[in-house]
Symmetry: D2
Subunit: 259 residues, 4 copies
Amino acid sequence: MTMRLNLNADLGESWGCFTMGDDGALLPVVDSANLACGMHGGDPRVMRITVGLARANGVSIGAHPGHADLHGFGRRPMDLPPEDLSALVLYQIGALAAIARAGGWPITHVKPHGALSNQACADPAIAGVIARAVAAFDPGLILLAPALSALARAGEAAGLRVALEVFADRSYEADGRLTPRSVPGSVLHDPDAAVAQVLRMAAEGGIVARDGRVLPTPFHSVCVHGDAPGAVATARAVRAALLGAGHSLHPLPALLAGA
Amino acid sequence: MTMRLNLNADLGESWGCFTMGDDGALLPVVDSANLACGMHGGDPRVMRITVGLARANGVSIGAHPGHADLHGFGRRPMDLPPEDLSALVLYQIGALAAIARAGGWPITHVKPHGALSNQACADPAIAGVIARAVAAFDPGLILLAPALSALARAGEAAGLRVALEVFADRSYEADGRLTPRSVPGSVLHDPDAAVAQVLRMAAEGGIVARDGRVLPTPFHSVCVHGDAPGAVATARAVRAALLGAGHSLHPLPALLAGA
Amino acid sequence: MTMRLNLNADLGESWGCFTMGDDGALLPVVDSANLACGMHGGDPRVMRITVGLARANGVSIGAHPGHADLHGFGRRPMDLPPEDLSALVLYQIGALAAIARAGGWPITHVKPHGALSNQACADPAIAGVIARAVAAFDPGLILLAPALSALARAGEAAGLRVALEVFADRSYEADGRLTPRSVPGSVLHDPDAAVAQVLRMAAEGGIVARDGRVLPTPFHSVCVHGDAPGAVATARAVRAALLGAGHSLHPLPALLAGA
Amino acid sequence: MTMRLNLNADLGESWGCFTMGDDGALLPVVDSANLACGMHGGDPRVMRITVGLARANGVSIGAHPGHADLHGFGRRPMDLPPEDLSALVLYQIGALAAIARAGGWPITHVKPHGALSNQACADPAIAGVIARAVAAFDPGLILLAPALSALARAGEAAGLRVALEVFADRSYEADGRLTPRSVPGSVLHDPDAAVAQVLRMAAEGGIVARDGRVLPTPFHSVCVHGDAPGAVATARAVRAALLGAGHSLHPLPALLAGA
C-alpha cells in the first residue's frame, strides 16, 4: 500500500557569517522547509534568501521557532511563563511571515525547534501554549508535529490542521520519544540506515523504536535534519527510496488539501 | 491658533533583566508609543508587557525597528544592501505586529529608530526601502517620520499616511537635522527648555533650529525620548503646556482620521 | 565582641547602553566589589570604567564570572562539561584581570555569580572545577564564597584563601542555602530588615535562617546586592550599623592579611 | 636565496553550534595560529579545544582580537574611544591567555582581526592604542602585523617584537593595502594563484600588488585564511611550495629567536 507523504527539513539556520547546513543542495530534495526565525539561528537576511530559494524550488515553508538561545542553538530546555512562551512563538512566526509574504511565498506551517519541540512533545501545557499561539496568529496554518506527541494533540485541540511527522535520521525510544542526542546511535548518519527506518515505518504503519517495537500511528511527513553532516545524501536517499517504493511526495498544503 | 497634535515616545526598550526607561510612568503621559522590536532593545516578553500597558492606557502603538545592534542600542550607522535592510524592517514589524494582535491591540504605525532613522532622514534610497517595506507589510500603517526628512517624502511616495514629528528634547541644526548627540546641548534635559522649544515650534509653525532659524513645516506629533533621564518630567511638562495653550492631543490614528 | 569584616557588592553589571545598578553611588559604601566579566553583564568599557572607580575609592576588586547568558543575566542554571565550565571561568577572570592590571588596580579575588554560584554552592563537582580554575589562574587570589557552601570547601581544597560571605539582603533556608528568588520575601528590600539580619548574624556567630534557626559559622564578608532597588540605601545602612556596633570594615586582601 | 618563514592562519572562529573553517585539517599545515577570542567568533569552549589542538600540533598561538560584532564577524569598521578600544583588546588577550596558560600552551603573539586590523593598518592612532595594549599586557608578546602597515610601525614604537606578514590569498593594491573584499578577485581562491603570489613575493623581496608593482619589504610570515573555502588546500600548496623552494618554516617564537 502506498502513501501520500511529505519530506521536510530544517533550513535557514545560518546566522551572520556563520554558515550551517547546505540549504542550496537540500532545497531541491525536500517538499517543505522549516525556517529558523532568528532566535536559535537564522537572521533577516538568511530568512529572506531562504524564502527566495524555497519559492524557486516550489518548497512550502513554515516557521521554526526556537528558544532564545543562539549560543546553544535552541537545544537547551528553558522554562518560560506561558505568556512569555506565547510571545516568543508569536514573535518568530510574525517575523518570518512578514518576510515571506513580502517575498511572495507565504508561510503555510509552523514546527517548533529543538528543545522547545521536545518540551512541547512531552508537556501538554507547553504544547497548548504553542498551539494556541499558532492559531491566534493564523488558524489556517498547519502545525507540523511529531506523531504521538502532546504537541500533535494540542494542535488538534486548538483547531489547527496537524501534519504528523516521523524522523528519518533519529532513533526512537519505546515510548515514542526521540532518543536523546547524548545517546550514541541516536542520530542515524548512514543514509542506508535512514532509508531502512523510513521504509519500515511506512510498511508497518507506525514508528519503529530502536528496540524493534512498533508504535502504530498515521503520519504525513518525514523529517531529515539539515544541519547533520551527510544531510543531503540522506535526504536524497530517502526521497529516492520513498518514490521507488511507490509513495508520492507533496508539499504540506497540497498533501493536507488532498487528504 | 490651536493645533490637533500627538505626543509620542519610544518605549519597550528594556531587554532581559536590563531595564531602560520607565515605561509605566511614561505611558499615561503620551498618546502613541514606538515599541522596540528586539534588535536594538526589546524582547518578546518586554514587547508583550508593553503592548498590554499601552492598551490599558489607550496609547496607540507602532513598531520601532532599528539596526541589529543591541550593544550599541541601534545608534551606530550600518550599511546594508537594500534587500537586507528591507528584511530587517519587515522582520521587526512582523514580530511586533504578531504579539500586538494577539494582545488585542494592533500596531497602527511604524517609526524607525536611532541610526536607522537618521540614515533614512538623510538618504532617499534608504528611506525608500523602509517606506516600501512598511507599505508591503500593511499599506494602512502610518509612517511616523521627522518633518522635512527624506523619510517623510519616501512615505508619501510609497502611498503611506505620514505623520510628521518634531522633537521636544533634541535641538536642531539650521538644515533641519537633529544636532548629533555628540554635541553638547543636543539633548534638552531641562523640561522647561523642552516646553519652550515645543511651544515656539507650535507658534512659529515649523522647526526652530538652535541658531534661531525657523524652518516652516506642518507637524502632527511631538516626540519625547523615553530613555533620557527626566523623560517622564519632560513629557508631563510638554503635555501640560500643550493642553494649557489650547492644543488638543490624540493617538495617531484618531489624529490622522480627523485631519 | 567585635569583628573585622568586609562589605562587598556586585558591580559593573551594565552592558552597552543598558545601565544596571548605581555603581557610582555604591562604590563609596563598600570595601570590595565583584565585577561582571561580559557573560551575564559587563563589557570591556564598563569593566574599564568600574575598575577606575574602584581604584579611586580604594575598593578591592574581584572577578564575578557567570554563565554565558546575557538575556537571563546569568540567573538560569546551565549544565556544562567540566572542561568547558573551567574555560568559561578562566575566560572571564583573564579578561577582567587584563583590564584591571592595565588600569593599575589588579584583581584580588573571584566570586561566582548567580546560578553559577548557586550551582557551585550545592554541587561539590562544580565547586571543584571553579576553585581549581581560580587556582590555575593565580593561586594567590582569594575565593569569596558563601559560608557553609560546597564552594567554600572546594576553595580550601584547592589551596586558595577563602573569604566566607553572608548576605545582608537575602533570606536563608534552614539548610543554609539562599531562599530562591521566586519565594516572596526572599529579597530583603527594607534596609532596616537587612541591618537587623546582619547584626543578628554578627551577634549569633552564624547564619540566621528565616525560621530563626542559627547555623554557626565564621564569616568575613557581608554582601549587599548592587542591582536591587534600594541597594545603596541598604548598603549605607548596613555599613553604618556595623561600624556603629564597633565592628571594623576592610578590603578583602587587608582583612585576610590581618586575620 | 632562501628565507626563514612562518605560515599562519586564523583559527578557532567557530561559535556555539556554528562551525567555521576546518581547524583540525588546517592546524597540521601551519606554524602559528591566531585564535578568535569571543568577540567576532570563538567562545571559551572553542578556545579551549583549539588551544589543545594547537599544542598537539606544536603550533604557536596568538590572540586574534576583533570588534565586538559577532553578527558581522568583526568585518565592519567601528569607531571606539581610545580607552575603550584598549579595554576591548585587553579583554580578549587576557581571556585567551588565561585559557591557554591553563591548557599548558601559552600565547606568544597577538594579531588583530578583520576590520580592527584594517583600521589599525591605516590609522596610526588606532595602531598605537592596540600596540600599547599588547605591551601593557605582556611586553614579551610578538605583534604579528601586515608588512608596511601603521600597525607594524606602532608595534616597534611600543617596544614589541614585530613579525611582518604578507597574505597568500588576498590581492594587494599599489599602496600596499589589501584589496577590499568587495572587489572581485580580491580573494585568491585558487591554490595555484596563492602559491604563485607567495613565491613571487619571496623572490622579489616584497609585496607584489595586483598591478604588478613590487613594494620592497622584509617579511616573516605568510597568512592563509582559515575561513575561506579551499583554505586547507591553499595552505597545503603554499607550505609545499615554500619548502620545495628551499625556504624553511618555523613557529613565530622560534623564527624571531633565530633571526
